[in-house]
Every structure is written in structure tokens, then in C-alpha cells.
Symmetry: C2
Subunit: 508 residues, 2 copies
């Protein structure tokens, strides 16, 4: 295989810009996943979802997708596709339980499945926000800065498909500039857009150029991952079906994510919302396996609830955390890697943003998520990408990774000599055991401040929200784009120019 030359190996680098960081890399989690459902309950939800697919079915608005379902043995009546349980289970069986996702820098390729999870930065918001200028429409220049920060933050394994809309660019060709920026500013894995055939194919073409191969050459090399949202309840629209088919057909990874907001697009009970989520996820996963048996695919769990007084969506709620863990169980039940998210409805980078995100993180990561979408930067229920939230989340992700680090218990770790050396009522600062280990003994925070209160006051009473502002500016000031082969970049420029001349993607 041809590989891009001239890449710098960056993994293992401990920090950048004076901001303490763990090195780039996935922590293999060795815990028992947290279970909120019994095996019987998992089985019952699974069977209820199969009943929904067999009796009520999915409305599939894309005729070629209906034809694919039909050819595979599904019953198609008008727009409705009904799947019998045997067909579903037969097709689910070809989805792989784990896979590798290639990055521009091979040292940053990712494991998806088993104990490994991918942390992906926020994708899709309409707005951008920072302390200095509040919330606003985003520009391409600011979006590139955001990508530079995603590259600079070691704890982020993947870019999430464009952090916010660069509204200074035309809508029909914007995706081309975003893809180009993702390749230029990142040597990490990045997500593609999936809204319609043209945008998806542009992602595939440009990823192939990035690797110096043809789109055909990608078919057995997963490098792109894209989010497919069903239109809950029980509907798959044309752009999403086109994206799904294009990605699966080229051996790339669909993340089938029903948007099952309990009380709105899903039943008001968590169990009901999970039945609907499971039905829609299975229907999408089945379609990927019809398109290309064995293609990697993920089960997306996004079940949350609304505020029943106002209808406003809520995120990072207790229901959200529980649904994430239940979704992990359902995904494992059908043997497909599981995607969850780090979400909040908070309006400011305050205590609420932190506790809702923490609820999401613990739900997702103890629930066995293999992709943590929107892992850093998401605010306002997904409408806004925040520069400060990016840092807050990066800190919380580093903490989760440190928590996942194993707890070694060798005789040396027990420190019986140090306990003897310190003596009753003594202290351990100066023991040989401490001196040999203190530098790397504990998680070193990038955001937390542990000053005592008088010092904190004297240093300006700077809270976490304001400290995050300083951190991202430091990181950005010292960031640099990873080297990119000049020939590759020329080929990307030529592709983008040609596609712009052709008019880009049709407007949906």
C-alpha cells in the first residue's frame, strides 16, 4: 500500500504548549461493563423491537434502499419495509464485533470494539461560542482553529465531522472545504458528512486521495466513519439512506443512530424509547450488511428525554445515563460496537455543563461505548460548539482515562518499606519510594486548580470557565499543522476546485 510520506510521529508526546496532557492513545478498559438491565430484560427489549420491525416496519423514503431490502427478502408495501426476525438476525450476524479505523498518521489508527473506545470531538453544531465573543455564526477561519485544537488535544482520537458550520462559505460546497481542512489540520482520524450521496462520495474520494489510493482501494480499509440518524420514529429519509449506502458500499463505517427522545419522537417510557431505538438501529445495520456483508457498522444509542413541562430536550440526565448503559447491553446482545455521546443542555460552561457531561461520560464509558461522539465541545443540546467546553471535556476525558488505568499491586506498589521508613505519625514526602515515583504518580490536570483559597483569591479568583479560555489560547498559540505531502495537497486542491466548478452537492 502507498503511504503518505513525511509524517511526524506524534503519539507518545506527553504535552504541548506547556499544558499537561497524557500521550495520544486509547486506554484499554478492563472493567465489567455496568448493567442496568437483566439478561431477560435485554432479551425482552430485543424481541419487542423485532416485533415492531416485523409488524409495523420502517418507512423508507429512498426507493433504491427499499429495493435493496426487498431483494434481501423483506416485505415492502408502499414506503413501508417490514423485516422478519430471521432476516434481521441473519444479517446482523455478518456485522463485525470490532475493527480498525485507519488515520492519516498510521500511529493514530484506532481500535473500535472490545475494551477500546474512540473519543471524537463535537460534530454538527450550527453555532460557535467562546467567553470573549459569546455565541455567534461560525467562520471557516475559526473552524480551522477549532480543528487545530482537536489535533493538539492528545485525548481526542478523532475529529467529529466538522465542529460547526462555517457560514461564510456557500452551503453547496462547504463540505469540500471542511474535508480539506480536516486533512490539512489533522493527522488523526476524522468523520465524514453523510447528508446525501454527493457529500458522502466527496468524503470518500478525498479520503482516498489522502491515502494516495482510489476509492475502490478503500473497500477493505475502513478510514471514514459517518453518522446516520434515522428520523424517529421508524423512518429513514433519502439523504441518510444515500449516505448509508455510499459508505457501506465503499467499506466505510456507518454509525446508525436513532434520535429517540423519550416523550417526543419516542415513547415516554425509557423501555419504550429503547425498543424504538433498537428497532431502528437494527433496521439500519441490516441495510449496511445487505449492501456489503461484513462491512463495519456501529449501533448508536442516543436515547434521552424531554422536559415534559416545556418539550425542551434534556441531556446528561439520569435517564440519559441509564439509557446509555442499557444501549451498550443491547448493542452487545447483537454483537455490534456501540456509540454513545457526551452531551449537555447547559447554556454556559458552568457546574450544570460539567455534571450533565459527567453523567453522560460515566453512562457511556461504563456502559461499554466504543465511540464517544461529541466527546469534547458540545453545548446547548448540540446547537453550539464551545472553545471552553472543548477544554473542560478534554480534562474530564483525561480523568476518565486515568481512572481506567489499571491499579498495579506488585510488592513494590505496596510500599511496605516506605511505610516502615515513614514510621507512625511520619510522612511520605521524602521517602525513597516517593522520590522514585512522584513525577508520574498521579493525573496532572490541564484545567483543575488546587490552590488554597487565599492563593486563589490573590491570583484573581479565576473559575474553571475562565481558566479554560486561557488553556485553549495557549494550546492554539503553540499548535502547528502536521506535515502533509505536497503532492497529496495538490491533488486535494484539484479535486475541490473541480467539484466546486461542478456546483458541489445539491441542496437538500
Amino acid at each position: 500500500m502507498t503511504r503518505v510520506e513525511g509524517r511526524r510521529r506524534q503519539s507518545g508526546r506527553p504535552s504541548q504548549g506547556g499544558v499537561p496532557q497524557r500521550p495520544f492513545g486509547q486506554v484499554e478498559r478492563r472493567i465489567d461493563w455496568m448493567r442496568v438491565l437483566s439478561d431477560d430484560q435485554v432479551e425482552a427489549i430485543h424481541h419487542a423491537a423485532l416485533r415492531v420491525l416485523a409488524r409495523q416496519g420502517m418507512r423508507v423514503l429512498h426507493a433504491p434502499a427499499r429495493a435493496l431490502y426487498s431483494a434481501a427478502g423483506a416485505e415492502v408495501e408502499g414506503d413501508t419495509v417490514r423485516l422478519d426476525p430471521a432476516l434481521v438476525m441473519e444479517r446482523l450476524a455478518t456485522a463485525p464485533p470490532s475493527f480498525t479505523l485507519e488515520a492519516r498518521d498510521p500511529a493514530k489508527s484506532l481500535r473500535v470494539g472490545g475494551g477500546h473506545c474512540v473519543y471524537a470531538s463535537v460534530g454538527g453544531p450550527a453555532y460557535v461560542m467562546c467567553n470573549d465573543r459569546g455565541r455567534r455564526d461560525g467562520t471557516f477561519a475559526e473552524m480551522c482553529d477549532y480543528l487545530r485544537l482537536v489535533q493538539a488535544l492528545n485525548v481526542l482520537h478523532q475529529e467529529g465531522g466538522g465542529p460547526f458550520e462555517p457560514l461564510d462559505l456557500p452551503a453547496n460546497t462547504r463540505h469540500l472545504d471542511i474535508y480539506h481542512a480536516q486533512i490539512r489540520h489533522l493527522d488523526k482520524s476524522w468523520q465524514t458528512q453523510t447528508l446525501g450521496h454527493a457529500r458522502t462520495m466527496d468524503g470518500i474520494e478525498m479520503a482516498a486521495i489522502m491515502l494516495g489510493i482510489t476509492p475502490d482501494g478503500l473497500r477493505d480499509r475502513p478510514v471514514l466513519l459517518g453518522i446516520i440518524n434515522t428520523n424517529s420514529p421508524l423512518q429513514l429519509d433519502v439523504p441518510m439512506a444515500e449516505g448509508l449506502i455510499a459508505l457501506a458500499g465503499h467499506g466505510q463505517v456507518n454509525v446508525i443512530t436513532p434520535f429517540t427522545l423519550a416523550g417526543a419522537m419516542a415513547p415516554v417510557t425509557l423501555a419504550g424509547a429503547l425498543v424504538l431505538q433498537h428497532a431502528e438501529a437494527m433496521a439500519g445495520i441490516v441495510l449496511t450488511q445487505i449492501v456489503r456483508p461484513g462491512v463495519p457498522v456501529m449501533y448508536g444509542g442516543f436515547t434521552s428525554n424531554v422536559d415534559m413541562r416545556s418539550g425542551a430536550p434534556a441531556f446528561g440526565t439520569p435517564e440519559y445515563a441509564k439509557a446509555a448503559q442499557a444501549s451498550g447491553q443491547l448493542a452487545r446482545h447483537i454483537g455490534v460496537p456501540f456509540r454513545s455521546s457526551n452531551v449537555t443542555a447547559a447554556n454556559e460552561v458552568d457546574a450544570q455543563a460539567a455534571y450533565e457531561s459527567q453523567m453522560s461520560l460515566w453512562g457511556a464509558l461504563t456502559g461499554g461505548a466504543h465511540l464517544l461522539e461529541h466527546a469534547a465541545g458540545w453545548m446547548h443540546g448540540g446547537l453550539t460548539a464551545s472553545f471552553e467546553k472543548l477544554i473542560l471535556d478534554a480534562e474530564m476525558l483525561q480523568m476518565m482515562d486515568a481512572w481506567f488505568d489499571p491499579l498495579p499491586t506488585t510488592e513494590a506498589d505496596f510500599a511496605l518499606d516506605a511505610i516502615l521508613e515513614a514510621g507512625a505519625g511520619g510522612h511520605f514526602f521524602g521517602t525513597a519510594h516517593t522520590m522514585a515515583r512522584y513525577e508520574h504518580a498521579f493525573h496532572a490536570p490541564m484545567l483543575s486548580n488546587w490552590d488554597n483559597y487565599p492563593n486563589w483569591l490573590q491570583r484573581g479568583s479565576i473559575d474553571a470557565r475562565r481558566r479554560a479560555n486561557t488553556v485553549w489560547k495557549e494550546l492554539l498559540a503553540q499548535s502547528g499543522d502536521p506535515p502533509l505531502d505536497a503532492g497529496i495537497d495538490e491533488a486535494l486542491c484539484a479535486y475541490v476546485a473541480r467539484r466546486k466548478a461542478e456546483g458541489g452537492a445539491p441542496m437538500n
Copy 2:
């Protein structure tokens, strides 16, 4: 048994002061506790701790305590008490795995052990803090307000031993006024102080008066719980030993909590800090069982780490969460209920306060804690009780309880009729299934704001820290003291007056 008359049954009351609350009550947790150690690792730490107690031993500064150990078969040499493994295991065996803790209102009595956990408000800080007036020395009047809030917050099961020092009262008799206030303002369980014989006995005497019985009558009725900190490493001082012996002798609950800060009073490795914690906790638990075999006692895990650059203690770190879960495993290994805490080193009620507390909460509660000490209000590494943090924590505790609520999966919960009724692409707001359930379907927050961003701006951009200020003032304005029998209160007044005349407790 005599019981205080005239109490109002308050449990089950859904809210107070317009602030949404769950009813008073303990949620029985039905999850598998999260394990960060293998069984072999637990066994290895346990045996290393036994070796420490057998070879190095504890320095016990209180002669009567040494005499008790000696009479039970321990080897005493100077101040040092060495315990052989057989003696330790024999004494641990009499500690009960669970017990009931009586409250002034019997409906608020508490289960300790198994799936049940007690959430206790912050205890012990030197300072008080609120948004309006910053951090300051506390007064008795403010402390009583804080107690009223602890009473008003249904999610708090127990008061934690005095939220902060009322510095307008003399140090030698202050504890008497605190106990009296705890009884007057709370019909919930409250913790006693344990610093020396006199303070502990005053708590016991006043708790007996509260129940209309004598101290002797308490011996088989656990009603008081007190925290005993060993002076890590490996030391038990005179006031703590006196408190321990007085409580255990009267059938009350000691919570033996070594203060094993890794890198300072404990080895820099988590495993080493846990060995030390386990050794000291076992030594204390053994002493309670020597004093009174079968008396309820708890295993306190407080292992955290310091910032190795500054020596400052850190709380709510990844190491803290992992140590909490490991401590739960160690406590279960010896069959003693487990105490953990909700802690942070943050200086403001900001994102850091929330994420450090969340790390503590998930560590403690998934680690199987049976007492969550400092569950609400703690700031500044324990130096300060905050009015706003009290509300933030109450919200997070309510969320954890809602997360612990089971996820029912009856056929009605699956909502297949509603899924049919809504139809593909429809919505669930108006389905019969939703209408019948929407009012109580989801956790109703007391602090979270789910406005969309334009509304939030229009309503004043009020962040979580400022909203918490409004919430506690609303709760306080509408709070009322629970009825207390006039004869009981007179007897308490007389006791306090007599003890003040006697000079209160000697100053340590």
C-alpha cells in the same frame, strides 16, 4: 420504648417551597458494584495490611485503649500495638454487615448496608461561604439556617455533625449548642462529634434525652454515628480513642476513617495508600469489637492524592474515584459497611466543583458506599461549607437516585400501542401512553436549566452557581422546624445549661 410524640410524618412529601424534590427515602441500589481490583488483588492488599499490623503495628497514644488491645491478646510495646492476623480476623467477624440507624422521626430511620446508602450533609469545615458574602467565619445563627436546609432537602438522609464552626460561641461548650440545634431543626438522623470523651458523651446523653431514654437504653439502639480519623500513618491519638471507646461502649456507630493522602500521609502509590488505609481501618474496627462485640461500625475510605508539585491535597481525582471503588471491595472483603465521601478541592461552585464531585459520587456510589459523608455542601478540600454547593450536590444526589431507580420493562412500558399510534415520522406528545405518564416520567431538576439559549439570555444568563443561590433562599424561606415535644426540649435545655456551668469539654 418511649417515643417522642407529636412528630409529623414528612417522608413521601414530594417537594417544599416550590423546589422540585424527590420524596425522602433511601433508594435500594440493585447494581453490581464496580470493581477495580481482582479478587486476588483484594486478597493481596488485605494480607499486606495484616503484615503491617503484625510487624510494624499502630502507635496508640491512649493508655486505656492500649490496655483494651492488650487484654484482647495484642502485643503492646511502649506506645505500639501489634495485632496478629488471627486476632484481627476473629474480631472483625463480630462486626455486623448491616444495621438500622434510628432517627428522631422513626419514619426517617435509616438502613446501613446491603443496597442502602445514607447521604449525610457536610460536616466539620472551619468556614462558611455563599455567593452574597464570600467565605467567612460562621455564626451559630447561620449554622442553624444551614441545618434547616439540610432538613428541607429530602435527598439528604442525615446531618453530618455540624456543617461549620459557629465561631461566635465558646469552643469548650459549642458542641452542646450544635447538638441542641441538630435536634431542634432536624427530625432526621444526625452525627455526633467524637473529639474526646466529654464531647462524645454529651452527644450520647443528648441523643438519649431526644428519645426519652437513658444512655444505657441506647446500647442496643444505634442512633448516633461519629467519624473517627486515625492520624495516618499508623497512629490513633487520645481524643479519637476516647471518642471511639465512648461510642462503641454505648452501642453507637464508629466510622473508622484513615486520612491516607497518597504522597503525604500515605505512600505515593494507590496500592500502598490502600494497604495503609486498610491496616488502620482494621485496627480501629478491631478496637470497637473489643469494646463491645457486635457493635455496628463502618469502614471509612478516604484515600486521595496530593498535587506532587505543591503538596496541596486533591479531591475528586481519578485516583480518588478508583480508591473509593477499591475501598468498597476491601470493606466487603472484611464484611463491614463502607463509608465514602463527596469531595472537591475547587474554590468556586463552578465546573471543577461539579466534575470533581461527580467523580467522587460515581466512585463512591458504584463502589458500594453505605454512607456518603459530606454528600452535600463541601468545598475547598473540606475547609468550607457552601450554601450553593449544598444545592448543587442535592441536585446531583437526586440525579444519582433517579439513575438508581429500576428500569421497568413490562409490556406496557414497551409502548407498542403508542408506537403504532404515533406512526412512522409521527410524534408521541399526544399519545394516550404519554398522557397517562408524562407527569412523573422523568427526573425533575431543582437546579438544571433547560431553556433554549435565546430564552436563557433573555432571562438574565443566570448560571448554575447563581441559580443555586435562589434555590436555597426559596427553600429556607419556606422551611419550618419539625415539631419537638416541649418536655424533651426543656430537658435538653437543662442538660446544656448544666454542662455549660460545668465548663463543657476540656480544650484539646
